[in-house]
Symmetry: C2
Subunit: 339 residues, 2 copies
DNA sequence: CTGTTAGCGCGTTCAA
DNA sequence: TTGAACGCGCTAACAG
């Protein structure tokens, strides 16, 4: 028994036709109970598994869905992928992951994948993608996750603007007036909406974001550290900085403390994401929590439903965020207190 | 032009047979130059892509390789996956990822994948897997990455024992005698070899690992924090602790500092992995660097070579590790110095 | 409820 | 060097 059993072998062993075997496996209810158990027995005895490739060719599906992330090395995505993976495992779909940072033309690579029929659906975590895409031929259902550049595409996202406002109001409540913002990469949708939320909450308090207090970043650790240098060089320093990602907040606080600056004594910091490490930093990072696993799960379910229905439309889902208070925020110009 | 072009369409457009089109695409050298360009032109004009599913069925391959990780949510794996993804992208293979924490029987799920012909090769990051596997029928090539439980299987790994010894000798050199070790989960291969390296280096100096100074962990942040509590409760505290992962080191230092203990003043810490955040912690973590991206790349190349050769054998590759000195280590029982 | 028939789209014989 | 024909393993029509 070197090579795997085929549906023919089962048909022979059970004394039925291959069609019946196929039905017994795919649509058990369409087959008489007696024959069904006959088939299932034969299957068990032989250790037969349906050949997904053949099934997929026949069904004109690929059996897997593709997740396109801007940077696989970024831990922010790992838990989302884990959520995706867990619901896809139930439905028997494979999870194909692609890193859009790799290779020359991310959008072209996406097209290749799709045109080659390699995915039944796509979850896109990179908002640059849908804009760069040439829509050649029919495409499988896609959902945008996290980043939301095209209002007409199905999406699972988080209230970024509201989250930013939550962060700012928290700082305001603690008495801060000079509040800075460390942004994501320019042009990014997330960057825009978190900035907008920041401005909005500030203006509600009659405040503005000083140009000096707007630090450009890219969501990565390194850019947080760079922002710290800029903060140090300022004559007129903000007493609090809201960072558009936890990684940046981490880099920011790290560099500050390495320079001997006390956080939150000299400057308060709020992050965004609530990645796992944030609770273990010193000081523990106050941040806006995104339900990352849930994002993955919802995106997967949305996509599966679309595939099922043969539709490329779906509602946009908006998931709530939450302020997590820890120790990186204190009133301005005082010695550190803990909450 | 609603549905994608097939090889038939190209054959018609180029005035040749489908066999010729197939050859022109898969084995260009076996076709006359004139006809080849005829075909390639038709391909370009129509935007034709070969249907991977059909090709795979015919070739009896699946076109993708599977990476099985113990916990997708663990950022340690993200960069490795990124390395895998980049070399697989070149060869046109898809990267399927599976989380072995999901679902009831990880080994059974692996078998399902393979028996269903869903992967041409597997990279396994979870050493529990090969042990639990029932080898039903022919299996595609597999390589063990990072964890190395079966000497006879191809593997890409790192010198864990040597790395641990590096860490311990560094601590020894700085004057520490009472050195503790925070381990990975029990039964894990990595846990064993890092512990062995620790013991080895200690014994070279005529020292032993006190039972009290052996802290059980699981590689995760939380277990680092728990170890800190145990450390605090000790009458006879080690002046340095070598942690088997950076995440644990991070949790350990965090909890210690939250409790008001100075690191490295009161206790020095060395980690293992050199994850990105380690350089940004306070104090910046001294650690043993693993070439994570390289691990992924090598594993991918090894696997591709095996698939190419139709072999399930390959050499075991051993990648070097490196001590990265930062600020979490100081001489024992003094006020903090920085190196 | 079940069997027969006919492909899914491609790669590979075997002749020409 | 090229084309005709077959089949990879499975499922969807259509009869019966």
């Amino acid at each position: 028994m070197r090579k795997p059993a085929t549906i023919q072998d089962i048909a022979r062993a059970a004394g039925v036709s291959t069609a019946t075997v196929s039905r017994a496996l795919s649509h058990p209810e369409r087959v008489a109970e007696a024959t069904r158990s006959l088939v299932l027995d034969a299957v068990r005895r032989s250790g037969y598994r349906v050949n997904r490739t053949a099934r997929n060719l026949r069904r004109r599906r690929s059996g897997s869905i593709l997740a396109l992330v801007p940077n696989l090395a970024n831990p922010f995505f790992s838990e989302i992928l884990s959520g995706l993976s867990s619901v896809l495992a139930e439905s028997g779909h494979g999870l194909l992951v692609g890193d859009t940072h790799i290779g020359p033309h991310p959008a072209a690579r996406l097209n290749d994948y799709l045109a080659a029929g390699m995915a039944d659906g796509v979850v896109i975590f990179d908002s640059r993608l849908p804009d760069g895409m040439v829509f050649e031929g029919a495409r499988p259902p896609m959902v945008l996750a996290c980043e939301w550049s095209r209002p007409n595409l199905p999406s699972v996202r988080v209230d970024n603007e509201g989250g930013a406002a939550l962060a700012i109001r928290h700082l305001l409540r603690r008495g801060h007036r000079a509040i800075g913002h460390l942004t994501g990469p320019s042009g990014n949708v997330l960057t825009e909406s978190r900035l907008a939320g920041t401005r909005q909450a500030l203006s509600e308090a009659g405040l503005k974001l000083a140009p000096d207090h707007l630090f450009p970043g890219d969501f990565g650790l390194g850019s947080g550290a760079s922002a710290a240098e800029r903060w140090l060089a300022l004559r007129d320093r903000p007493t609090a900085v809201f960072c558009a990602s936890d990684e940046m907040a981490c880099g920011f606080m790290g560099a500050l403390r390495h320079a001997g600056i006390d956080v939150p004594g000299a400057v308060s910091v709020v992050g965004f994401d609530d990645i796992e490490v944030s609770a273990h930093l010193v000081p523990a990072l106050t941040t806006i929590r995104q339900p990352r696993r849930l994002i993955g799960e919802r995106a997967a379910r949305l996509l599966l439903a679309m595939i099922e229905a043969g539709s490329s439309q779906a509602p946009a889902e908006l998931l709530p965020v939450q302020l997590i208070e820890r120790q990186s925020v204190a009133p301005p110009a005082t010695t550190p207190l803990d909450g």
